[in-house]
């Protein structure tokens, strides 16, 4: 189980990091979302992984650490609000700046490709 869990976190982080390095705001926001998923899973695992363990005393034979679950809950709420804000801000940036590039002005190469696309 640990191997699969670690693999999932790794894949999510890789994809998130890759998407965050892209040039347009939409992919950056998606990348941030994937990263926050990876982070939540990582936090969850910081209390060790266990089968059939309840975070409440007397409910099951083995006990899971309740604190990481509370932390994940907080992190999910905060991450959700922040993602919503980033989405709204990138839409505002699209409206204000006239394009969805993170710098506000797409590099010349992209412009050329777009113009060629229009001509075709």
């Amino acid at each position: 189980m640990e191997l699969i869990f670690a693999f999932c976190i790794g894949v999510l982080t890789c994809c998130g990091a890759y998407l965050c390095l892209r040039g347009s705001t939409f992919t950056v926001v998606i990348g941030l979302t994937l990263l926050s998923y990876a982070v939540n899973m990582f936090l969850f695992a910081s209390g060790r992984l266990a089968f059939n363990a309840a975070p409440i005393l007397g409910q099951s034979e083995s006990i899971a650490d309740p604190l990481p679950q509370a932390l994940v809950l907080t992190a999910i709420v905060i991450g959700f609000a922040m993602t919503a804000f980033a989405v709204i801000l990138s839409m505002r940036a699209r409206a204000d700046l006239g394009n969805d590039h993170v710098d506000g002005n797409p590099p010349a190469v992209e412009n050329e490709i777009r113009q060629k696309g229009r001509r075709l």
Partner: protein
């Protein structure tokens, strides 16, 4: 348990919520009065806290849930000092913002209060997960304050600032998970106690977690490879917001002091001073980059933003030189640079509104309405920022040069600090001469300033003056505040130990 300790968090939170309620939500004038009163009360409260912590370090246990499981607030001299700095700066920034003729949006004051709540919370918390939560509170308020008022420049700066800080938060959580996984606690004093007993394998993981925290706090405090967001963000923000942001980099520095002075401090065994070899070169490079940026800046706001970076470099250096024994010089400089950079952002706005289309760029333009008054403000602030006698910048730099005792430290620190001061001197001379002497024509440009704005700048500029006059008591206090990083860790650890013993005895 004294309930005064939680008021710096509760008061801004409650007044912010009050402003959002229907009778006040649409009345900026009433909101303004509440913000004023709230911030004035905050100044008083932080003064009382400074007085109280002289006798006893305040530990506030929320809901009486015993730490390390419950949440704990800690007010020692260091926290009280920074709370006071925040309160005074916020009061002046608010006073300045209120005087603006163009009415700000409905949510300016509530956001302002929430930002202060986040900053105060970050200074007060004794628990590292709450540090994360308060970071998020102050960041989400700062995102909204930054884009407040709208405009292309703000939106572009805002998106990059938000993205970087979201990435920073993700790394913060990864670091927290790593540290919790190895240490099994999130209370900072308890972490400091447990970090010594780690096995070598766990030490490696804890080291990775600790250095990830350095990355996160480096991003917040604008340490070298992570400082690129700062100049454009600070120069795009409106004046009162930029002035308030002057304390934001200090929140990151404070977190570095607490984590790498407290948890991974000299008592941490194999993990003692893990950040020092990284901070050394990065601090010097930050100082150099800040000075070069100030030299290259085309406008006063950008120049001030780069001075913020230079001050961060200086503050990081004070944390590492002399094996961390010289932090008191750093704390003195921190108070000074917060007040001075805050006032410089406000002065830049004064110059901007008085010069019309030329704004605060270093170009020839028509003379200002009150060039004498604005000029003297600029002159005082520049002297303080560069570190020339007689103002407190000079005292801070003298203390700092004294603090480097070993020859190899002196070889690095002295030339860098002195040359960067020289560069700052040249940059500010150029700025001042282009604003006040290179004028064309007789007709005055721009709009007049308002008395409250002048008052706000005057209050901020008396701080360097007072700090020079009362340098001795402030330095003594800051010395004890620097020692408090270790002392309060020990106090909390003793208390935790006592709690454990009584719990066992009851059982």
């Amino acid at each position: 348990m004294n309930h005064l300790a939680i008021l710096p968090i509760l008061l801004p939170a409650l007044s912010g919520i009050l402003m959002l309620l229907p009778p006040l939500a649409t009345r900026p004038c009433a909101q303004r009065r509440i913000a004023w009163m709230g911030l004035a009360a905050l100044v008083v409260i932080s003064g009382v806290l400074i007085y109280l912590v002289e006798y006893e370090t305040q530990i506030y246990v929320l809901g009486d849930w015993q730490p390390p499981f419950g949440i704990m607030l800690l007010v020692d001299r260091l926290a009280a000092l920074l709370l006071a700095a925040t309160a005074v700066l916020a009061f002046c920034a608010c006073l300045y913002g209120e005087a603006r003729k163009d009415r700000p949006g409905h949510f300016f004051y509530p956001l302002f209060m929430f930002q202060i709540m986040g900053i105060n919370g970050a200074f007060l918390t004794g628990d590292i997960f709450n540090l994360f939560v308060f970071f998020e509170v102050l960041l989400i308020a700062s995102y909204a304050l930054l884009v407040h008022g709208g405009g292309k420049e703000k939106t572009r700066a805002g998106f990059q600032y938000v993205t970087l800080n979201l990435l920073g938060s993700a790394f913060f959580l990864i670091a927290l998970g790593t540290l919790y996984g190895t240490l099994g606690t999130l209370n900072m004093a308890d972490m400091a106690a447990k970090v010594t007993g780690l096995s070598p394998e766990e030490q490696a993981i804890a080291r990775a977690g600790g250095l990830l925290l350095l990355l996160v706090f480096g991003l917040k405090s604008a340490m070298l490879p992570l400082q690129f967001w700062l100049p454009q963000t600070y120069s795009a923000a409106s004046a009162p917001v930029a002035a308030l942001f002057a304390i934001m980099t200090k929140v990151g520095l404070y977190a570095i002091y607490r984590v790498f002075g407290g948890i991974f401090g000299s008592e941490a065994g194999a993990l003692a001073h893990i950040a020092t070899p990284w901070i050394w070169p990065l601090a010097i490079a930050t100082l150099v980059v800040g000075a070069c940026g100030a030299f290259a800046a085309p406008s006063l706001r950008l120049l001030t933003a780069n001075m913020v970076i230079a001050s961060v470099g200086t503050l990081l250096l004070t944390f590492v030189i002399n094996d961390g024994q010289s932090l008191s010089a750093g704390l003195f400089y921190l108070l000074h640079s917060t007040a001075v950079t805050g006032s410089l952002f406000l002065i830049a706005d004064q110059i901007r509104i008085q010069r019309g289309p030329a704004q605060d760029r270093f170009v020839i333009s028509r003379p200002m309405h009150k060039s004498g008054r604005t000029g003297s403000f600029f002159f005082i602030a520049a002297i303080a920022a560069i570190g020339l006698p007689p103002l407190s910048g000079f005292v801070a730099k003298a203390l700092f040069l004294q603090a480097a005792t070993r020859l190899d430290e002196q070889l690095w620190v002295w030339p860098v600090l002195l040359i960067s001061s020289l560069i700052a001197l040249v940059a500010f001379s150029r700025a001042g001469s282009s604003f006040f002497w290179h004028v064309a024509g007789k007709k005055k440009a721009g709009v007049k300033t308002r008395p409250a704005q002048v008052l706000a700048i005057s209050i901020l500029l008396t701080i360097p003056l007072l700090m020079t006059l009362f340098a001795d008591p402030i330095v003594t206090y800051s010395q004890r505040a620097a020692e408090d990083i270790k002392n309060s860790t020990v106090i909390i650890q003793q208390r935790l130990e006592n709690d454990r013993r009584t719990a066992h005895a009851v059982r």
